[in-house]
Amino acid sequence: MGSTITEKIMARHCGRDMVKPGELINAEIDVVMCHDVTTTPAIDMLAEKGLQKVAHPERVVIMPDHFVPNKDIKSAEMVAKIRRWAKEQGIEKFYELGRHGVCHALLPEQGHVQPGTTIVCGDSHTCTHGALGAFATGIGSTDLAATLATGELWFKVPETILFRLNGKLQKGVCSKDVILAIITRIGVDGALYKAMEFTGELIDDLSVEARMTICNMAIEAGGKSGIINPDQKTIDYVKARTAEPFEVFVSDADAEYAAVIEMDVTDLEPVVAFPHLPSNGRPVSQVGDIAIDQAYLGSCTNGRIEDLRIAAQIMRGHQVAPETRMIVVPATSDIWKQANHEGLLDIFMEAGATVSAPTCGACLGGHMGILAAGERCISSTNRNFVGRMGSPKAEVYLAGPGTVAASAVEGKIADPRKYL
């Protein structure tokens, strides 16, 4: 019996030839990513327990992103504390404002994600990095503190669900629609505790960035991780960003899966997830007439350059509807610069949208685009829980970047395909 990519990576990182689902292991961690919200408590915990020395400062990558540029005095104090701590610990990989970005967009972009590695961060969307064939999972602050102190973390080896995605996407349908359709099919706890491995013709066709969108939302189905076997596209993407050596693992043909789910995407329409769960997906043709107050384009799910290109293509020559506002948040500084260079930011601004600095910002109801009671937002983000983007009486509809752009133009939820 063979092993899955997840089992192989875990085995390698606990010094064994093989591990099986259900086993408890202590795994060595290659990359510990730290952002503003969950890192400060970890720093306090380490000090309190006398575990003050970070085991491997060179494996730590810090990027304040949630409430930056600092939204208030408390957030400013948090980042100031992390900055001081990084200096004390000799942590050199610190992405200061201006070179910063939403952590899950920045980490792979800057070459810190390599196939075959283990990555943790105090953030549930850490599963994004499985798109490059790494084992990556979100943890809390105590786990973060433990990893910083010891360089290791305990895991239960997860079972894997294999999603075999066949067919080709219609024009105007994107990887966000695919993952929303998957979550709608299996539910927000449909992959609870499990690794979600994505394969098939569709995955082969997708760019590395589009694959990230799929793995990013594994947590929205309860998954421990999302993962994709690396191919030549992955290797090219990584080698363009780092000279570090890495080892590629792929699942064996006879690996054992908890379930295999087949899906054909040929007839898939753009999907919109209604409030208040990501699993409330409906084909855009069945949405009906839903006026929106705000359209939000950004986040670790869909704030990358390809997403901005899709939205700009739709918005070129159009205006944001009079009673609607649109916020565009390029996910990293490099994406911002690239979008500027390509003229995309001009297209958004000319259309009457506004463009902000990179931040997690309003995606989690932090700042820079909070919703009032009774307002509706269509958003390229990953969660539409009650209160997620502001008032608990606001509504969030999740969709791909094209649908967000088309909806901004029409002032109501709209099908992007007619603009392409």
């Binding site: 575990l51 409430f67 208030d72 948090m78 602050s141 105590t142 608990p392």
Partner: protein, 162 residues
């Protein structure tokens, strides 16, 4: 341990409901406690008493990895959460904090707010002293129990490092 129940028999109560992100510029239990469960039940903080127990449906704690959710509940006086099932990161955060999270399938519809419960971790039994009922649950895994007994993961590690 004994405590009075607050029943929320709904599935997928998420971390945004347990502690909204607008308060994540704070990380002290006493500050977070003032906003525990705010977007789900604005009266929760007013009604909760020290030692109370939350009883909920499937997938409790889904969403964000914010450990602030555990701290907000503990700060508000909650001693334990019993749920049909738990989301993974929240459950792990409970163990790591030495905070009792008991998974007991199909329990959520059976318990009313105000019921007095007794949780017997060793025998894997919850007794409903008000309704005179008994529910069994699978024991907490040995490794997790060791962490809970140590008072959380960092104490457990600090001991091993010593």
């Amino acid at each position: 341990m004994k405590g009075f129940a607050h029943s929320y028999p709904r599935a997928h109560i998420n971390t945004d409901e347990i502690i909204p992100a607008r308060y994540l510029n704070m990380d002290q239990e006493k500050d977070l406690a003032e906003h525990a469960m705010e977007d789900l039940d604005p009266d929760f903080v007013k009604n909760v008493r020290k030692g109370d127990i939350i009883v909920a449906g499937e997938d409790f704690g889904c969403g964000s990895s914010r450990e602030h959710a555990v701290w907000a509940l503990r700060g508000a006086g909650v001693r334990a959460v019993i749920a049909d099932t738990f989301a993974r990161i929240f459950y792990r955060n409970c163990i790591n904090n030495g905070f009792l999270a008991v998974e007991c399938r199909n329990i959520s519809g059976k318990i009313q707010t105000g019921d007095e419960l007794e949780i017997d971790v060793k025998d894997g039994v919850i007794r409903n002293l008000t309704q005179n009922e008994k529910y069994t649950f699978l024991p907490i895994p040995e490794f997790a129990q060791e962490i809970i007994d140590a008072g959380g993961l960092l104490n457990y590690i600090a001991r091993k490092v010593d």
